[in-house]
Symmetry: C2
């Protein structure tokens, strides 16, 4: 058997993929910045349903871009989401991504208080005021805890990317988030996950870099 | 605002989630080992469609469990899939997970030969005969390259978890894999991804641990 025939360059693959998405989803339903998010999530999942599930609060993208352009810290609830965030773009923007879910202090707190590690890690993260963006793609408990801390005045992020996945609490946690005035991006219902969380952060970073390039001529 | 009411223990969440899945998917359509894979993938994605998309070749699970119980190396195409694989289970089983997609030698090879880093990393991985399981959740090009190497007699893994995602080549790469006699687990069509790849490895490891416990009384 000889060599198989297939597209072999990453740029070629992404371009073709975006074309296919535009043939299948009417992008005129979206603001152009929102479309950058929607398109990248569909590219990551091959699941067109996300065109209907993604909900962005007014000003969410602008808040994210502003925080990123200032070189903020970004907190993720899982090592998977952390791994999926583009490190080259992070560096170019002077940003940093943090995940403390397997931190020893977090484990101790979780055991001591009988809560999930995800919840404990959010309590820990809330002590760092330079964390401006929370990216929660896995655990509803992390998002519920963050909402509690915000209501208690103990956390005040610029943007929450709230896309937990699953049958137990995920939809409810995102519904609760949508009631807050804090800028947020969610996926309605049960679907979500780490790949989607990372895709949204990457789309925001690419927009931030593009704006920077345009400004600098 | 007081505390929100939600399930706060990881065990409670998983148990409830599995119950909901069993209410929605007829598990009598599946062999009990296959069901462990299907159930965990749905748990990870909240997407019932995977009950129809997952295809396991005869003996795929047994081949995977055997390799894992011997303490094999597992190769993944992305840092995300690597991050999603349960490290505690890996350690208990004496297994190791490898990803070389951002290795310097891989980057050099990709640039020199004008191929994707994913393809170069598979060529590099094929030099390690102790890699018995390939876990490809992202790049169709990685899977196409692995299929080529197998046909050329340059790779001979015990199991391939082939679940690339996307609109360009993903479905075709999995279709091509399904023609091989090498044991494999795939998701038909465009859907797949790193979270699904990791979920399948984790399900295999949990079955391996369970069998070990039963054997050791």
């Amino acid at each position: 058997m000889g060599n198989l025939s297939y597209v072999k360059t990453p740029e070629g693959i992404e371009k073709k993929s975006f074309e296919i998405i535009e043939e299948n989803v009417d992008k005129s339903n979206f603001d152009s910045k929102d479309w950058n998010i929607v398109r990248r999530v569909i590219h990551t999942t091959a699941d067109f349903e996300f065109a209907n599930l993604l909900k962005l609060s007014p000003g969410a993208i602008e808040a994210g871009i502003l925080a990123i352009q200032k070189g903020c810290r970004i907190y993720t609830d899982t090592r998977m989401a952390e791994a999926g965030i583009n490190k080259k773009a992070l560096k170019q923007l002077g940003c940093e991504v943090l995940c403390m879910v397997d931190d020893v202090q977090v484990l101790e707190m979780a055991n001591r208080e009988g809560i999930t590690r995800s919840m404990a890690s959010i309590i820990m993260a809330s002590k760092f005021p330079d964390i401006k963006i929370y990216v929660l793609g896995n655990a509803p408990t992390a998002l519920f805890k963050l909402i509690e801390l915000i209501r208690e005045g103990k956390a005040c992020p610029d943007l929450i990317i709230g896309v937990p996945v699953g049958f137990v609490g995920a939809a409810e946690s995102k519904e609760e988030l949508s009631k807050l005035s804090v800028p947020h991006i969610i996926t309605k219902g049960q679907k979500g996950g780490s790949t989607i969380a990372a895709a949204i952060v990457n789309a925001l970073m690419y927009m931030s870099l593009e704006e920077k390039t345009i400004k600098n001529g």
